[in-house]
């Protein structure tokens, strides 16, 4: 897979973001990055839709700030988004470490929580391989029963999630992965989006633990390297295949992959089997967004 450099996406003008996804998340950080500025808030006023990958990215960012002893604020004014966050499991994962403004009334919170889960897989925190195994079984079951996926297509999705998510706790001590999945669009344009994120050391620091990659200096270089076959923190012939296989699955399904780590991001468009890299506002950890054309028959 080849990659090409592109213009810096990190400092766009400050638009009103109505849809928070894996791309506009960087625009949000461009207006205020709580990791580099004093303002510990994520201003989602104006946002009317948050995608699965953005949900995992936002949660990972909040948890990263919490690891630093900080408690960020999330500003949300839209009632449907507030309700959505509750039902999508967002508050289950980060509710204890963030302030929602305006505050959610307790009674309203419980009412919203008992509403219908809006996602195929709500925001989930996995810390071990066994927890991940259970979630992957659920992903297969959900795709098969709710979207009428063929068995092997569902296996491909679960395999892609598995190879991505295992990195979170394989390469970071005491770390967890955040996963969410949702389907968007209609008919032939329907697609599946999966977000996998963590707030660990990131690819650059991880790869540099292997002396072979000690000369890597940028997040972009680390992402490029990590996607190559056999590149890993561990000097072990059975390692370093996860992201390679993720890209192969995405290619076979005609999907796309965005890999973000630190201050770098690579987007792979599988119809061209090509990747583009960008500098982005720095946040800890690795965040992956995978989109695949929906194979559901329903």
């Amino acid at each position: 897979m080849t990659t090409a450099s592109s213009e810096n996406e990190g400092a766009p003008p400050a638009p009103t973001i109505t849809k928070l996804d894996s791309v506009s998340f960087d625009a949000l950080l461009g207006t205020n990055n709580p990791f580099t500025q004093g303002d510990l808030s994520f201003d989602l006023r104006g946002v009317r839709l948050i995608t699965a990958s953005a949900l995992t990215q936002l949660a990972a960012a909040i948890l990263a700030l919490n690891q630093r002893g900080q408690s960020p604020t999330v500003l949300i004014d839209d009632l449907s988004v507030r309700s959505y966050l509750v039902r999508a499991g967002f508050l289950e994962v980060v509710g204890q470490v963030t302030n929602i403004e305006p505050p959610l009334a307790t009674s309203w919170f419980y009412e919203a929580r008992h509403g219908m889960n809006p996602m195929l897989i709500e925001l989930s925190k996995v810390e071990t391989g066994n927890e991940l195994s259970n979630l992957l079984d659920r992903i297969v079951e959900t795709l098969r029963s709710r979207l009428k996926y063929r068995k092997y297509d569902a296996f491909d999705v679960a395999t892609a999630v598995s190879e991505t998510a295992q990195n979170s706790f394989d390469h970071n001590r005491g770390m967890y992965g955040l996963i969410a999945m949702q389907v968007y669009g209609k008919g032939a344009r329907r697609f599946l989006e999966i977000g996998v994120a963590d707030c660990g050391d990131g690819m650059l620091a991880t790869l540099k633990r292997n002396p072979k990659y000690s000369l890597l200096i940028s997040d972009l270089d680390a992402i490029r390297e990590a996607c190559k076959l056999g590149v890993s923190e561990h000097e072990d012939q059975t390692r370093g295949t996860g992201l390679y296989h993720l890209l192969e699955i995405a290619f076979e399904h005609g999907g796309s992959v965005q890999i973000r780590s630190g201050g770098g991001k690579a987007r792979y468009r599988m119809d061209k089997r090509m990747g583009w890299v960008f500098g982005v506002p720095s946040v800890p950890g690795v965040q992956v967004a995978l989109t695949l054309p929906s194979k559901g028959r329903g």
Binding site: N130, S133, F155, A158, T159, S162, Q166, T238, T241
Partner: protein
Amino acid sequence: MPHPDPTLNVMEHRFALAKYGKQLWTRERAKEIRPDLSAIFDKAQVGDVIVIDAGAVEVFDFSFANELFGKTLLSLPHEYPGRFLVVEHLTKYAGENLSKALESMGLVIIERNGSGKNRLLGKVHGIDETTFAVIARKRGSVTASELKDELGINLTAVNERLTKLTNLGLVRREKGTSQAGREQYEYRALS
């Protein structure tokens, strides 16, 4: 259970993967299973065959395959020389994933198909496949010199191929004696 092959006196040890689940995900899960497989290898003698029966296993991911199959194959030449590892009853999906996983690690495994025939799965080069097939057809031991004539290549090339197949755990090398009384290496494969 004794193998029916009259020339290769081997004992088969079977390892049923399905008892651990139909959907096998993650390296961690494979790490839990590997000691059970290693225990079988520990009991096996030189020349024995360890068969992983993947029947009823619908899927395993690459990390699982790397840890269970990859690590085991890598340990064969050093920890368990002379034992053969065979996999059988792979579903189409599991077979494809295993093949891709082995390819990405540069490894090869013997797969026994439904009719009992062995083939190589993983990073297989045509010449290795041919050499393996010729040795397997012999249904007994063969020397590099005999293979040289059969394959129509020089002795150095034959030895290179045999070293590779031996290091991959696909061929067993034994010391034998030529008709002239000289010590020589003989090679065997599962037929």
